[in-house]
């Protein structure tokens, strides 16, 4: 997302262009994009993985992506992540599991963890201490589940600025 959309641009024609580019893709590639949107942008994966502990862990691969609201911002602009588990029923269901407070980037050195999340908590603590993923998280997630990360600008301002998710693929 490098460009800023200008109001005077004709949205309909841009939509048409985007759509034509999309359906001109080979079917296999198109299917992959539809079913695995998190695999879309390698650069975003790398950036996010640097911050969120995403990468290969044993036999599982964590894929992570995020939506960038303002092209000038990076994950480093944010001081806290909220991690939640989605129940996949839609309509605003989101169970917050924990918060990660970033007091110094790129390492995550502050954690505010509620109790009762077992391996996830261990994983996050380990990650915070070692800045490296630890085996264990894959068992927490079925192939259909995802953990969602929301990135907040500061702890007092609960503004939903960016969103990232991590999934076992």
């Amino acid at each position: 997302m490098k460009k800023i959309f200008a109001k005077e641009q004709n949205l309909d024609s841009v939509i048409e262009d985007a759509f034509n580019e999309l359906i001109s893709l080979p079917q296999a590639e198109l299917k992959n994009l539809i079913y695995h949107p998190e695999n879309e942008d390698v650069a975003e994966l790398i950036l996010a993985s640097n911050m969120l502990g995403v990468g290969e862990v044993e036999n599982a691969t964590y894929a992570c992506s995020y939506v960038e609201y303002e092209p000038s911002q990076t994950l480093k602009d944010f001081s806290m992540f909220t991690i939640g588990k989605d129940d996949f029923t839609g309509y605003s269901a989101f169970t917050e599991l924990t918060k990660i407070v970033i007091t110094s980037t790129p390492n995550l050195i502050g954690l505010d963890l509620p109790s009762g999340f077992g391996e996830l908590e261990s994983f996050l603590k380990h990650y915070a201490q070692n800045n490296y993923p630890k085996p264990g998280l894959p068992e927490l997630l079925s192939s259909e589940e995802r953990l969602y990360f929301s990135c907040l600008k500061d702890q007092g301002n609960y503004q939903w600025i960016k969103e990232a998710h991590i999934s076992v693929v």
């Binding site: 997302m1 949205l11 999309l22 079917q27 879309e40 939506v67 939640g84 129940d87 989101f94 503004q159």
Partner: protein, 180 residues
Amino acid sequence: MDIKKGTHGTCLSCAEEIKKNGFKSSGKGRGGPGVYFWRGHDERAKILAIGWYKYRLYEQYYDTEKKQGLSVIYVLLKHENNEFLDLEKPTMKDKVEKLRISAGISNIPNNSEIALLWNRLVISIEKKIGQKFKILALRCTTPPKEYVPNYPLNLLGLPICYIVRDSAIIEIVEEKDIKI
């Protein structure tokens, strides 16, 4: 600046959490990730909000919540014109159908595939314009009929939902605890 009205039904505990920390996006829904609101503040939207709450109550979704009574939350959604995308436009429907065909997805996609198709289409447009849409509009299925017996489906068709993809645009204007 444009302002839309939305309504949301949930349990009292969830409403308290929302008032304290704001709405949280759901990862899935008919139109992809976002916070879902029934369009409007009128009686029809209230019927849908209450019906949705009753359905989830029946599904035992609120079983772990301390306060399981009904709360209806009314919100305003403030956005610029170019931050809104209407997925109900016939041209958008045509596109999602062509996308389904191009991807070789069955004639009757399941709910997950419907969400993925819309999500892909929206993301591709966003990447093209370099900007995120903060709010989408899409017709969504009603709760099962027994929970919304007074919704005139035959007259109005499926209700329009607003799918908010940036919670910062949500302003809660009223929350009503309703006894049912």
